[in-house]
Amino acid sequence: MTAPATKGSAGLRTTPARAPTLGGFADGTLITLALGAVILWFAPSGMGRYGTYVLSLWLVMAIAVMGLNLTLGYAGLKSLAQAAFMGIGAYITALLTTKTGISWYAAFAISGIATFAVGLLLGFPALRVKAHYLAFVTLAFSTLVWLVMRNEQWLTGGVFGLSNIPRPSLFGFKLDGALAFHRFVVVVTFLLAVLLWWMIRSPWGRAFTALRENPIRAASLGIDTRMYTLLAFAIGSAYAGFAGALYAPLVEFIDPSPFSLSQSFFLLLMVVAGGAGYLLGPFIGALLGVVLPEWLRFAGSLYLIIFAAIVMLLLIACPQGMSGLIERGWAWITGKNKAGGGR
């Protein structure tokens, strides 16, 4: 569904209609999410700390990608600052939990609120001009945030980063172990995914989808386009903040490098490769972006080339990403009924 999204406005639909399937299969999405959460709860048994860590990292990145998917896949806005927002969340959480001793839950909430607010502040002037230019403003913003993280050593630790970031506890249980923290991440990811699922099904989300499908019609129906897109961007950014709040205790160390502009591009890659505008797309995208390179390590020094080639070929074969490919495959298997796959 990227064709309409990419042009911001008045795109020509070139892929089969998907909108009618949305309502019917939303519950299927919810079931998939719940099932996935259960599988992931038990998945790490016998996988070792490394496998567990990679699964956790995948989910954390998936949260950031979910947010960007809302911004890009549903609202059609290109944000090049998702990693920067993730960094804001990560640094807020790291600083609050290490220096002030505030609980992780409060830091998590503050990270989300702060990134939401920054998203509003940043999006408002940019969207006033034209949706298109949000990309350029966020590009500049992304680098500015990175510079502050790197240069303000008294606060952020600069290039040396912040270490010994504590992991949260739950009802008195310490979540320091790899498995315990992984399960915590599974729960948080599940809750955030369900929240997003609910938002997209709500009247607000429907307005939003209408906006993506046909902005001119949406505007003529009295939808305040700018308000909706701005909110979508801010919520998408808040999800990055949440992801950052989980990333910091997961790695237990942060420095500016995972929050650079190139990482924002990489998150964008995950959204599109997973399938922009599909609710489960971010999980597939993050799987491609986080787990696939790890899995390809057996290929030695060529692993990044193979990874990039897979992504490129995937997009050439199916510009709707993995979700689109799966949808297409499903439609083919079920004899071209446009069931929309497992969406």
Partner: protein, 378 residues
């Protein structure tokens, strides 16, 4: 449609697959092979490969062949942590790498928790101040090198003021933060304090700024390629003050890239294939023959790191991971016992190294060693 969960499960299974145990000892190197640290990391990797090939050719370690695996960190802390965790899960005997301080910071607790020695290429002073008993350097820390440079600037160059130009990453910032107090202590004024970007291509503006600062000398603390670009730009802008630096200013790579502009550069060198020690030059030749380019100090670090492991293993006569770290801590390794260490090296309790080092100058496109500095605690 659960197929992506199936894919996930399949992929996870792939990850979890244990490597088959053979009559080999596994060493895993977690290092920057892509991203900002790729050049340093590739040298480190090549140095390791060279040492491992030598050891295996001579019958291996306590009769076992070394199986070396390299994992790329993409110079990203999150990925580094994953890779170090993987290395430990896969039963590595010791962790080699990484080279950049950020990724080291992100991964050192894991090796510490697993009680496995981690032999890193980082030079930032802070790394060994955290009480980690399992972290070992392969080069002098900046805290050890900078007083020597300050003394050199004061006594030999006789500079009253110095312009400092540094690369804004953990290496450069660490060096800058270490040299400035030393300069102040020596009564040398800092005439300019110029930060440059990692991978910066154009140094014209920085060279003009340095020129206008009009200091008695310029302290250059950049990575090799940036050093070469800076030297060229400085020459172009007519900066004719002495260029003083560390290993990264005087290396063979810088001389090759900067050409004539490198002549006259001088300073302190920790590890150098041009040092007047036959073992160093021998290493330089072997490296050149195998990889067809000259090793920088990171190549030597990787090489020596493997030999540190070899020495300690033969000393403890078994493959005990914790014992390896215990043996290394506080040890002094002499080339007479282990030629691969190249020069006498003392490993201090906190993982820092103490070694001889050199003062050098670039003359007619060659690095010339002018003096050998003793160990700090001989």
């Amino acid at each position: 449609m659960k197929s992506h969960w199936i894919i996930a499960a399949a992929l996870s299974a792939g990850i979890a697959l244990p490597a088959s145990a053979q009559d080999k000892v596994k060493l895993i190197n977690v290092v920057e092979l892509s991203g900002a640290g790729a050049t340093a990391g590739t040298n480190f990797k090549n140095g390791i490969d060279l040492a491992v090939a030598e050891i295996n050719a001579k019958g291996g370690l306590l009769g076992k062949q070394i199986e070396i695996i390299h994992y790329d960190t993409q110079t990203n802390p999150g990925n580094t942590r994953a890779a170090v965790q993987r290395a430990i899960d896969e039963g590595t005997y010791a962790v080699l790498g990484p080279v950049f301080s950020g990724p080291i910071g992100a991964s050192m607790q894991i090796a510490q928790r697993a009680e496995i020695a981690q032999i890193v290429g980082g030079e930032a002073a802070g790394l060994t101040k955290q009480g980690n008993q399992y972290l070992f350097r392969t080069s002098l820390s900046q805290a050890a090198a900078m007083p020597k440079i300050a003394k050199y600037l004061k006594d030999t160059v006789k500079a009253g003021s110095v312009a400092v130009v540094w690369v804004n990453n953990d290496f450069g910032k660490g060096g800058r933060d270490a040299i400035i107090p030393e300069l102040e202590k020596a009564g040398i004024k800092v005439a300019a304090d110029v930060s440059t970007e990692q991978g910066q291509a154009d140094f014209s503006a920085d060279a003009i700024k340095i020129k206008n600062a009009n200091a008695d000398a310029v302290f250059v603390y950049l990575n090799e390629e940036e050093s070469a670009r800076f030297l060229r730009a400085a020459k172009q802008q007519g900066v004719n003050k002495p260029m003083v630096g560390e290993t990264t200013l005087l290396g063979a790579k810088v001389i090759e890239l900067a050409g004539e502009a490198a002549n006259g550069a001088k300073g302190h060198v920790g590890l150098s294939i041009d040092a007047p020690i036959p073992a160093f030059q021998e290493f330089g030749k072997k490296f050149q023959a195998k990889y067809n380019y000259a090793s920088d100090h990171n190549g030597m670090k990787g090489y020596m790191g493997v030999y540190m492991i070899k020495w300690a293993t033969e000393k403890q006569k078994k493959f005990d991971k914790k014992g390896l770290a215990d043996t290394l801590r506080g040890a002094t390794i002499k080339p007479s016992e282990e030629p691969g260490i190249l020069m006498e090296t003392t490993i201090e309790k906190n993982g820092d190294l103490d070694r001889e080092s050199f003062l050098a100058e670039v003359k007619d496109g060659k690095q010339v060693i002018t003096a050998t500095l003793p160990k700090i605690n001989p």
